[in-house]
Symmetry: C2
Subunit: 447 residues, 2 copies
């Protein structure tokens, strides 16, 4: 089968059925497609297929499988096979796998690996999750400032197999400090006798190992880089973060944000494979917590039981009012959560934005009030209509301000702004809404 | 100032104050940082600074500014200056700007441009927004299959200035059909006398001009490509989508999803700059629509007024029950919206997932019921407690199933699944919740 035949599958999920000619597919398919197809086979078969591949292709395909599958397969493999496979993997990929293994499995693996691989893994595995250090790889190419372009290109030919990219290489001083970088592009265009020092970028952008991975990814996007060098406290080059790994990290962060704003505790599993236990445990926590939040609304209602008994028609508008407040609130919260995540907005912008939010909220509240007035009149007459309209105006404003401010407050407290989820905002503005509603009612209907 | 001095700024937003030495900064800063800094200056100053730069750097900096600023500046420039600037811009960047101009401005610009640029813009501008054609660029390098590696590298030296990337070049047949691609990496490693045909990839992955941009971006990520070739119906190469443009497109789509799930109609403006009119108009539509949804809940309540008057303590639990149902629903909805967006889950998976959802929802509902039972006993005695517990169990299940299924239903209807927002799900499950609640109450409390 030609590659183009498989294109529809490749962009989408794994093919429904194995390709017409399996042997041919296994041989010719893109390693990413082969990995995706193997993922859905029984594990014994997967290893049989992998074993049949050439060592290089085997590494490629294995690396392209998700970490859950990789870890499972690793457990079935003979230690020697696993070690061989892991030696061939990219620095960052094998650390991700390594971190998925049990301490015993990790020890066993390290024993079977050549010394340098062992050192590389221990070094990379040392960095905290979510930092540049944790997603960097050691597969970068370095050049000497004194080399000529001809020598540099010759050096890259040698370095290429072990490098994730040779499109940008890094120039270090004798202390391994990063002093420059150069693109293959520039080496190709330059005269062969030119010294690298004469054409290299002497101010390469870099991050430190403990830079947040979101910030690292944003820098790669901001500067349109293929790879961003990572330096230690002493300015020594210790790794690079490639654009694709940064993008994967960013994707994971975004998925986490989606989970948080819907009060689901973050989990890494693919939604198709996530187990019942995982989903239950990640969802129940906030659902249960919010119950107590809702008791405040209940308490408010209990407090105003007299008013309710006297004007039971007020209950008709209760869901409408508290939902509208909650909806306006989740609008503001979600917009801010995303803006903070993309860096469009930063902590200090709150002051500048709260005024605009108030204006927008007032317009929204006024419109909503006008929308409900006729309903109020129809259901409970002019008095009730005024109560409902005024309440609507106020609760939409309160909801919006709470929703807009909570993400800032949370990131101020060094918590994830995405925790300012719609449901949390809804619960808060519900409690406020109930009290505002029945207080106004009690006053206006002069009970 | 050295680059490293400005690093903190670069990753974050625009510097608060102009750098200590403006002239120095303008000369040495990375073009992306200079663009970000200019963005916040009065427009007249911006153009003065731009005019002071060398033509190449001017184009780089201008291209790095957001489209709103670009369009504004374009209006202030002398037509000749604008034309010169636009001629220097990348194919995709100048089309984005072109699309922001008024028809008059577009016509004027085309008149001032050299014939080939005019043709290129008209060709690229023809593609529908959201397709590969709309984000592709014409700045790709092509090689002949018959060339030797030496000839190919020589050809790339010539093509480099006009190419977005020379790290992958494309091999076309006489009819301009894409027959292969090769990485600069491979050219560097190969023997200089080898013919390109012998080492090129004969099955390059490609997309058609009308492929959805989300799918295009997913393919670039799936195959870890720097650029993905775009072909027309005849298989002729018409452009490439570079990884960074694909990432930008994906980012925009994600931001749109965040907006939709919070019932905000999509808008492209940066949250810091978005005007009151924009925010109001994008937010009011669903807020107002959901009012009518909430009237169903109200109607339900009206229908059960007798029950409420008899057991006013039932109202205490109303916000709690309808919120819990809505919260469980937005959890399921948001998880599915994201899974559908990343491709983790596809339309046909619904059947396979609904069973798991039902189980998880039942567990959640049971837990929530247990949580509220004591409150029910405390507030209204055993009978009320049973009513509340049973209702909680049922509404959490209903909410989850609605929330989980709605995104699938919507994408089945070729609508954006993200329209299955938390608030929409909440409103639906509220109406159901009210009816379930008071029906059970009426039965159990045998009114």
């Amino acid at each position: 089968m030609t590659e183009t035949d498989t294109l529809p599958n490749r962009a989408g999920p794994a093919p429904d059925a194995p390709p017409r000619d399996v042997a041919d597919f296994i041989e010719t398919a893109h390693h990413a497609d082969l990995a995706r197809w193997l993922k859905d086979l029984p594990r014994t078969q997967v290893w049989r297929h992998l074993a049949g591949l050439g060592p290089e292709r085997r590494v490629r395909v294995f690396t392209n499988m998700d970490l859950d599958s990789q870890a499972e397969l690793a457990r079935d493999m003979a230690p020697a096979d696993l070690a061989a496979l892991v030696s061939g993997m990219g620095g960052d990929d094998r650390v991700d796998l390594y971190n998925r293994l049990t301490p015993e499995e990790q020890a066993q693996l390290l024993r079977d690996l050549p010394a340098e691989d062992r050192a590389d893994i221990s070094r990379l595995a040392a960095h905290a999750e979510g930092t540049a250090g944790a997603i960097m790889t050691s597969g970068y190419a370095t050049l000497g400032a004194e080399m000529t372009v001809r020598e540099a290109i010759a050096a890259l030919r040698v370095a290429a197999p072990a490098s994730e990219t040779i499109y940008r290489s890094y120039i270090l001083d004798d202390a391994a400090r990063l002093i420059g970088s150069i693109r293959l592009h520039e080496l190709i265009l330059a005269d062969e006798a030119t010294p690298v020092a004469a054409i290299m970028d002497r101010h390469p952008v870099s991050v430190s190992v403990d830079t947040d991975q979101e910030e690292t990814a944003r820098m790669i996007a901001h500067y349109d880089l293929l790879a961003l060098p990572v330096v230690d406290a002493g300015g020594r080059l210790v790794g690079i973060v490639t654009h694709d790994d940064a993008a994967d990290a960013m994707d994971a962060e975004t998925t986490e944000d989606f989970q948080r704003i819907s009060t689901v505790l973050p989990f890494k599993h693919n939604m198709r494979e996530a187990g019942i236990g995982v989903l239950y445990s990640r969802r129940i926590v906030w659902l249960a917590l919010l119950v107590f939040g809702n008791l405040f609304s209940g308490a408010g209602i209990a407090y105003f039981e007299e008013t309710i008994l006297a004007y039971v028609s007020l209950v008709f508008f209760l869901p409408l009012l508290i939902d509208s407040s909650g909806n306006a609130g989740s609008q503001s919260a979600t917009l801010m959560v995303r803006a903070l995540a993309t860096g469009d907005v930063v902590l200090k912008d709150w002051g500048a934005l709260i005024g605009r939010e108030l204006l927008v909220a007032a317009l929204l509240g006024a419109t909503m009030a006008i929308v409900v007035l006729p309903v109020g009149i129809a259901r409970g007459g002019a008095d009730v209509a005024w109560v409902v309209g005024l309440t609507m105006f106020l609760v939409v404003i309160v909801g919006s301000l709470v929703g807009m401010s909570l993400p800032f407050l949370l990131s101020r407290l060094r918590l994830d702004p995405a925790t300012a989820s719609g449901p949390l905002v809804t619960t808060i503005s519900d409690a406020v809404g109930v009290i505002v509603y029945f207080s106004i009612a009690t006053l206006v209907l002069s009970l």
